[in-house]
Structures are given as C-alpha cells and as structure tokens.
C-alpha cells in the first residue's frame, strides 16, 4: 500500500494513473448529474412553501459543499507541499484553485437567483453570504499569487501558505448559520438527527444526493486533468513526457515522413531526445 502510494507521487506514474481514472470519473459524474437533475427538475414534487424555486438546491448545495471541500483539500495539499516538499502536492494546490473559485461563484449566483423569489432580495449582508464571498476572494488571491511568480515551484509554495492561512475562513462559513442570526437556513441533510428524523422528503432527497456525488466525481475528474496539465507543464523537459505524452503523435508523423517502422529508429526523434536530455529549452508544443 505504501509503496503504491510512493510510486503514485512520482509524476510519470501519477500521469498514467490519472489518465486511466479521469475518464471513468468524468463519465460517472456526468451520469449522476444527469439522472440527479432529471429527478430534481421533473420527478421531485414542488415544495409546499417555496414552489418550484426550491429546485435550485440541486445545483446550489453541491456547489457550496464543493466550494468548502476544495479549499480544505487545497490547504491539506498545501501542508503536504510545505512539509514534505512534494511536487505533486504543489501542483494539486495550484490546480484546485480555479475549480474551487468556479464552484464558489456558482454557489453565490444560484443562491442569489433563489434569494430573489424567496427572500425578496438578491443579496443580504449576513454571515453566511459574506463569508462565502470572502472565500471567493481568497480563491482569487491564490490564483493571482500563482501568476505573479515566474518560478512555478516558488509560486505554488506561496499559494500553499496562503491556502493554509485562509483555511480559517472555512469553519466560519460552515458554522455561520449556527453562530449568527442568519436569513440562510441551517443544514438539512448533514446531521445524525436528520438520519433518524429526516427533515426532507425522500422524493426530494435522492436527486440531491445524486447531484452531490455527481458534482464530487466531476470535480475529481477535472482536478485530475488539470493536475496532469500542471505536471506536464513543469516536467516539459523530462524524458518521460516525451515518451508518455508526445510519443503517439510523433511516431505517426515520423512514420509518414520516413517510412520507418518504429520511433526508436527514427534519427530525428533520437536527436530530439538527446537535446531534451541536455536541458535545451523547447518551444510550446
């Protein structure tokens, strides 16, 4: 188990692992989202008080849950990157930030659209909404900080520090509805009490659980793909990138040009690899 874990941390084996896993996760996520959205929008009954407006929870709740989850994930990856100086964890921080920012923005926008018919206002300055907005700014700070540095590793570790300090905000977002008087309602599904005495009808609950798990699967698929990009961008001078990522198209091209049987025998290919070993910079390909 540990050796498997250690091997996974090396960029080439992670790249291959992610390549195999990401399509399955993406398919699973889209399937769950499709079924969940159909169930939520067409099968679940309208709420007796909110009417059809409640259906926005099938987007809003998963987006909000992921906005918090992704930030915690970023902070954990940041701690790993700072303590063990693991390259993959550095990439994980940087790759997660834009996805988390999108989910936060989605949660804010869907919340506003729901708030207008239900509360009568798009926005109120209460604890939950304000702290979620601060979370969005924290994400934007991480994205901006990452782009301010020219060296990718320094940038990623600076982002890791920022993520670690900013994680203070996550419990504030989560508990804001309990600590302060808020217009935002409390949690409906995430408590032991709710299992014994459900606060939501099962006809409304199952689509929510499907879109929730579907969103998580979708996030992990996108995250893995972004991680692959990040890893390849950093290791672009390494041989394994040449072998593993660029081999197939190059082999096809060289076969067409020279009519040789394999990429190993192609002289142009060999000279390219040789140049790579000497660390010569390469154009964007």
């Amino acid at each position: 188990m540990w050796t498997w874990f250690h091997r996974l941390a090396s960029p080439p084996s992670f790249y291959r692992f992610a390549d195999r896993l990401a399509p399955w996760l993406l398919g699973l996520g889209l399937l769950l989202l499709a079924v969940g959205c159909y169930g939520g929008l067409f099968i679940a009954p309208a709420d007796y008080q909110q009417g059809d407006a409640f259906r926005v929870i099938y987007v809003h709740v998963p987006a909000a849950a992921l906005s918090l989850f992704v930030y915690v994930l970023m902070a954990v990856a940041g701690a790993i990157a700072l303590v063990w100086r693991m390259k993959l964890a550095e990439c994980a921080v940087v790759a997660a930030a834009p996805i988390g920012a999108s989910f936060t923005a989605l949660a804010l926008v869907t919340g506003m659209l729901w708030g207008k018919p239900t509360w009568g206002a798009y926005w109120v300055w209460d604890a939950r909404l304000t702290s979620e907005l601060v979370l969005l700014f924290l994400y934007l700070g991480v994205i901006g900080l990452n782009q301010a540095y020219s060296d990718a590793r320094t940038a990623a570790r600076a982002c890791a520090w920022l993520a670690l300090v900013g994680v203070v905000n996550v419990p504030i977002v989560h508990y804001s509805v309990q600590w302060w008087n808020s217009l935002h309602q409390g949690s409906t599904i995430l408590s032991l009490e709710a299992v014994r005495d459900p606060k939501i009808s099962s006809s409304m609950l199952w689509p929510l659980l499907l879109t929730l798990s579907g969103s998580f699967a979708f996030f992990f698929a996108v995250w893995l793909r972004r991680l692959q990009n990040e890893v390849v961008a950093r290791e672009r001078g390494a041989n394994w990138v040449r072998d593993c990522v660029l081999q197939a198209p190059l082999a096809a091209v060289s076969n067409e040009q020279s009519g040789m049987t394999g990429p190993e025998l192609d002289p142009s290919m060999q000279s390219r690899q040789g140049r790579q070993r000497h660390g010569e910079p390469r154009g964007a390909d």
């Binding site: 304000t130 700070g141 901006g144 320094t154 570790r157 600076a158």
Partner: protein, 225 residues
C-alpha cells in the same frame, strides 16, 4: 532565551531608527488616514444625518487602507540589501525577528492612527460615548491589519508583478476585523452590549500575533530560496 530577546529588540529598535531618519515618510500613513476619512463628509450634503451612521465604517475602512499604504515595500529593502538572508542565517528563530519587525511596524503605522481616531470620530459626528469603544476596537484590530498585511507582503516579496495583488490578498483577511470593529462602535452608538464583538477582535488579535509571524517567515523563506 536572553539572546533571542536581545536580537528581537535590536530588530525592533532598528526599524524605529530607520523610520525616524525619514520622518516625512513615516508620517505618510497618518496624513493619508486623515485626508481619506475627511473626504467622506465632502461627498455628503452639509449636516447630513447619514454621516453619523456611516462614521464607524469610515474610520475603520480608512484605517484599513492606511495600513495597506506602503506595505508592499515592507520587506523589499531588506531583501535587496541582504538583511533578511542574515536573519535566516542567525541563531535566533527567524519568525521571532519577523514578528519584531511587524511589531515595530504596528508602532509606526497603527499607533498614530489610534491617537488620531478620536479627532476624526468627532469630525464625523460620532457620539462621544462610542469613542472609547472605537479606540479599544482599533487597539485590538490594528495588530490584525498590520500582521496580515505583513504576511501578504512576505508572500509577494519575490514577485516582480505584485502590484495590486497585495490588496486582493489582504483585504479578505482584514474583513473580520472591519466587521467586528465597526460592529462594536455601532452597538455602542445604540447602547447595546459591545463585549461580543470586542472579544472577537481580541481573539483575532491573539491569533494574528501568535500565528502570522510564522506564516510570514515561511513565506519569506520560500521567496528567498
């Protein structure tokens, strides 16, 4: 232990001495604070009753922006002349020296703001009974502002294109201080209990004083490598 305190004290005194050599530059945050806070009444009609309601927010937002002024340059000179590398090599823990520098910055930037705040508050028609709460809030809140500003400056010290990035990084971290600081003054204005928000501010101050020097030191170390 004594050597550690001596080193921290030396850093503290050095900061003050450097600032006092350029007195005009050292007073800039204070002047900026007064000008900024006194611009708001100019945007309102004369004798507008809204001014009193907005006074807590104006005083606090002005303090926040004044604390941001010049924060980008906080570590730059020390990086350029190699001071920070010497601190890294020293026997004394690096976070302690960073903390001493930030404490000196608080004395230079924030303490004058607190002294000037009653005058600003009176100019903004704030009720006199709320001024004590305002000062106590600023006393607890300004270390949060200065230390989180120092952390953001440490994060961006190696980045040539930092520019507007520091306010973006640091303003979300300063939001809680603004909310509770201005909230305490508003509560005092209407005669409600002010203890809750003041306790929150004090807790944030303790967290900032104890944890942010470590975070800032880590970020500086990362930028210097």
């Amino acid at each position: 232990m004594n050597a550690m305190l001596d080193a921290a004290w030396a850093v503290f005194v050095r900061e003050l001495r450097l600032a006092l050599r350029r007195p005009a530059e050292a007073t800039q945050p204070l002047v900026f604070y007064c000008v900024l806070a006194l611009l708001f009444p100019l945007g309102l009609a004369a004798q507008d009753v809204g001014l009193r309601a907005f006074a807590p927010a104006i005083v606090w937002v002005s303090a926040l922006l004044a604390a941001l002024l010049g924060i980008e340059r906080l570590f730059r000179a020390d990086v350029d002349d190699g001071t920070l590398e010497q601190w890294l090599l020293a026997d004394v823990p690096f976070p302690m020296l960073v903390g001493a520098k930030l404490a000196a910055q608080w004395l230079l930037i924030a303490a004058p703001l607190i002294v000037a705040a009653p005058l600003i508050a009176l100019a903004l028609n704030l009720q006199p009974q709320a001024i004590g709460v305002l000062l106590l809030g600023l006393l607890f809140g300004t270390p949060v502002l200065v230390f989180s500003g120092g952390f953001a400056a440490a994060l961006t010290v190696g980045a040539p294109r930092a520019g507007l990035l520091i306010p973006i990084l640091v303003l979300p971290m300063m939001c809680p201080a603004l909310i509770f600081g201005a909230g305490a003054v508003r509560a005092a204005q209407v005669g409600l209990s002010v203890e809750g928000p003041l306790y929150f501010l004090a807790a944030m101050m303790v967290l900032s004083l104890t944890l942010l020097p470590w975070a800032a030191a880590g970020a500086l170390r990362n930028a210097l490598e």
